[in-house]
């Protein structure tokens, strides 16, 4: 019981990792059902039968919600900070420990409420993870839009609450519990990332919390924040309202875009730290990286309108949001170029965590490069809501996010088990995942260019593209199955490497400099986070933050 109702951060990290694992397994299975249906629409599923169009939309909605919130947010923004953040700043505990522990329990409740939507009459909601009203506001608008939609909204309300509580704890920890001498200029870049992503979480998830509460109020209390006058659903006129669905779009995307950075910023910090370690060189331009991280955070709050270029908002707003979006590409490019420079100039120590970091950078580039295309309202007017966008965000957010999660797990695994994960299995996992992930998501660009919209249960885009797309769709499905299958190697490795037989890795197996590897609490430090390199004539090629230059 003590291990379960714990306020100890490492224990919470374990719990968050289990929760993320459960969510990613379900979310992946849902996506495989979608791929089967798109490729072989008539195939009957065991225990279910043929997938109906509304079933497909329920799969899309639940897949997106599970992956975005319970995997891509929970692991980098809740599990990893609990695992290493206090230790990285020389503390054993988080600030506000009970608030932090309560966040986990509310997140779990949120997951259970969300999954319950599968088991209510009419099943899960079908409005997609963005849940635009009036589809999400009027129960008569479709199957799953009654109880299923209510459960979805309650799950979101709970998740937002937990996310803000967890992030408040992270921010307080960074501000209050740093070791003496650990100035802002000596913080590892992961800590800077969590500072920015937690700030974004507090702001963005508050907006989503508000939106979800208002939508629940529209559904049950007779308000009309999102419902306009003159609505006729299923031939039945609805009660006159005076609101607008546009309000939801603004509130949702005011959350939705910063959310992307909440997902990838921790990965970006991790990439810098790991590249420094596995090339044995300091991060060049530390303050440039910090400034880029902060700039991404600030600009990230001002780009939400690029999700709304085709919503019919004022064209000048399209121009303004296009400008801010192009601007945010610059600090992102600055970070990418720093990583590439580090990769080229340093001597790479090739191992699984490094490979997954390189994979993260590779996907971040692959998906990031189509960002400036979609940031042009005129081009987005063709590409919006096609598979081109599906390809874009699965590469830049989902695959980059997942690969950074894998990098973190392979790298920090010794903190949890005292052992390293098996290297051979790790590299097999990496190479097959890399190839299968590109095979799954890169060809989706072509489907998008051919005009195939997303959320279609079957291939029904422009007639001209049918014949061309069928082999592409089959290839995507095969790749998706390979991608899912090779994750079994990872799962096996997680358990296999924890056996008592596996040799202990010892303290600091990666010869790292940051404080989480010292194994004890460190009230003081007097050096920066990335002091690698042997040129200064020492026996070791690194100086950890916990070894004092001179006695304090």
């Amino acid at each position: 019981m003590r291990r379960i109702f714990t306020t100890e951060p490492k224990g919470l990290a374990r719990l968050y990792l289990w929760l993320g694992l459960a969510a990613v397994i379900i979310g992946t299975l849902l996506s495989l059902l979608m791929r089967i249906h798109r490729t072989w629409p008539q195939v009957a599923m065991p225990l279910h039968g043929v997938i109906k169009p509304e079933d497909y939309l329920a799969l899309v909605t639940m897949h997106g919600t599970l992956m975005v919130f319970f995997v891509l947010t929970v692991v980098p923004q809740s599990a990893f900070p609990n695992l290493v953040l206090p230790a990285q700043i020389g503390s054993k505990k988080m600030a506000l420990p009970r608030l932090n522990a309560a966040a986990f329990w509310i997140t779990s409740a949120s997951l259970l409420v969300l999954l319950a939507a599968f088991f209510v009459p009419e099943g899960a909601p079908i409005a997609g993870w963005t849940s635009y009203p009036p589809l999400s506001a009027v129960a008569a608008a479709g199957p799953g839009q009654a109880t299923g939609m209510d459960l979805w909204l309650v799950a979101i309300v709970l998740f937002c609450l937990a996310a803000v509580m967890g992030s408040a704890s992270i921010l307080a920890t960074i501000l209050l519990r740093r070791a003496s001498g650990l100035t802002f200029g000596r913080l590892p870049l992961t800590v800077w990332s969590w500072m920015v992503s937690s700030g974004l979480t507090v702001i963005a998830f508050s907006a989503l919390f508000l939106a979800a509460v208002l939508l629940l109020s529209d559904r049950h209390l007779g308000t009309s924040y999102f419902l306009p006058a003159g609505l006729v659903v299923n031939g039945i006129p609805q009660a006159a309202g005076s609101g607008s669905p546009m309000l939801w779009l603004h509130l949702f995307w005011f959350f939705g875009h910063p959310e992307v950075y909440i997902v990838v910023l921790p990965g970006m910090g991790l990439a810098s730290s790991l590249l420094a370690n596995f090339t044995r060189r300091p991060v060049p331009g530390y303050w440039l990286m910090v400034a880029s991280t902060l700039l991404i955070g600030v600009l990230g709050l001002g780009v939400w309108g690029h999700h709304m270029f085709v919503s019919g908002m004022n064209p000048y707003a399209g121009t303004a949001f296009g400008l801010t979006t192009m601007a945010i590409a610059i600090p992102s490019s600055a970070e990418v170029l720093t990583w590439l420079a580090m990769m080229f100039r340093g001597r790479l120590r090739v191992n699984t965590p490094l490979l997954f970091v390189l994979g993260f950078v590779s996907f971040f580039i692959a998906g990031g490069l189509t960002g400036p295309i979609l940031a042009q309202p005129a081009l987005d007017a063709y590409l919006h809501n096609t598979f081109f966008v599906v390809a874009h965000f699965h590469l830049v957010m989902a695959m980059a996010g997942v690969f950074s999660i894998f990098a973190g797990i392979y790298y920090w695994y010794p903190l949890l088990t005292g052992r390293r994960m098996n290297e051979v299995l790790g590299q097999i996992h990496f190479w097959i995942s890399l190839i299968a992930a590109y095979g799954t998501f890169y060809p989706m660009h072509l489907a998008g260019l051919a005009g195939e919209p997303r959320h279609y249960a079957q291939l029904r885009g422009p007639v001209e593209s049918f014949a061309k797309l069928i082999p592409v769709e089959r290839g995507i499905t095969s790749s998706a199955f390979l991608l899912a299958a090779v994750q079994l190697v990872f799962l096996f490795n997680v358990f296999w490497s924890a056996r008592a037989k596996v040799a202990l890795a010892g303290a600091n197996p990666w010869k790292a400099t940051t404080l989480e590897w010292s194994g004890e609490e460190h009230p003081m430090t007097d050096r920066g986070p990335y002091e690698y390199g042997s040129a200064t004539g020492r026996s070791e090629d690194f100086r950890p933050q916990w070894k004092a230059e001179k006695p304090f």
Binding site: A334, A341, I373, Q376
Partner: protein
């Protein structure tokens, strides 16, 4: 670029051109970036690769970082300017006087197209008059004389070469009016009247899709845009107006 369905709109040519350039540049940048990973790893496996340990970054850092960043910022600037020129041409122009007006309404899971008729004005619609089975899917008020000559169609007939001014509406939920062949997309949002203009050039049939998830029939919510000669269009419209 031959993945795109054939273009039938005047402004589609400029869009295809710009999109083609964007895709080409971005694709080769992608290839270059991925090649750099292969080179870095290959150098390592062949036992080479910059030792770099302890070597100050300064001069190298400038070449490896500042110059590429300046170049890529220049690229973003070019994208910004060209993209917005096209956006301005497409969205910020006054409606030409000879434009054909069509009202497009999205309803689960159907598109309706209304032409204002000879008087050039649409009749008012009322939510409680909406009844598809009774032949009045848009709820046009029979008490309004302006609506008497309105033509409601399930096919979007358009004359080639004449600018079209669309008023975009939705009755129940948000729908996405998407005509891939005309490079045209905008959301139809309940309670709002969206505006969209374009000029169809090449006669032929074009698919109209729904691009915003709208319920269980989302993927079946398709209609046809048929672009014909001005004479054929006039004949069609006259035939539709006649029975009234």
């Amino acid at each position: 670029m031959n993945w795109l369905p054939p273009n039938g709109a005047l402004r589609g040519i400029a869009l295809d051109h710009l999109l083609g350039w964007n895709l080409t540049i971005v694709f080769w940048l992608f290839v270059a970036a991925q090649a750099s990973f292969v080179v870095a790893l290959a150098r390592r496996w062949m036992g080479r690769g910059g030792t770099g340990e302890g070597v100050p970054w300064r001069g190298r850092y400038f070449i490896l970082h500042v110059l590429p960043l300046a170049a890529i910022t220049g690229l973003y600037l070019w994208m910004l300017v060209t993209g917005h020129r096209l956006w301005a041409a497409r969205r910020e122009m006054a409606m030409p006087a000879r434009a054909l007006e069509v009202e497009v309404t999205g309803v689960q899971f159907q598109w309706y197209f209304r032409y204002p008729g000879p008087d050039g004005e649409y009749g008012t619609t009322k939510p409680n008059l909406v009844s598809a089975p009774a032949g009045n899917p848009l709820g046009v008020d029979p008490g309004d004389p302006r609506g008497a000559d309105d033509v409601v169609s399930a096919v979007m007939m358009l004359p080639a070469g004449r600018p079209v001014e669309i008023t975009l509406r939705a009755q129940d939920v948000i729908h996405g009016f998407f005509v891939p062949g005309m490079r045209l997309k905008q959301d139809a949002i309940p309670g709002m009247a969206g505006h969209l203009s374009f000029t169809p050039e090449t006669p032929g049939d074009y698919a109209i899709l729904c691009s915003q998830v709208c319920g269980l029939g989302h993927d079946r919510m398709q209609a046809r845009m048929r672009v014909v000669s001005p004479e054929q269009f006039a004949a069609w419209l006259a035939a539709r107006e006649a029975p009234r």
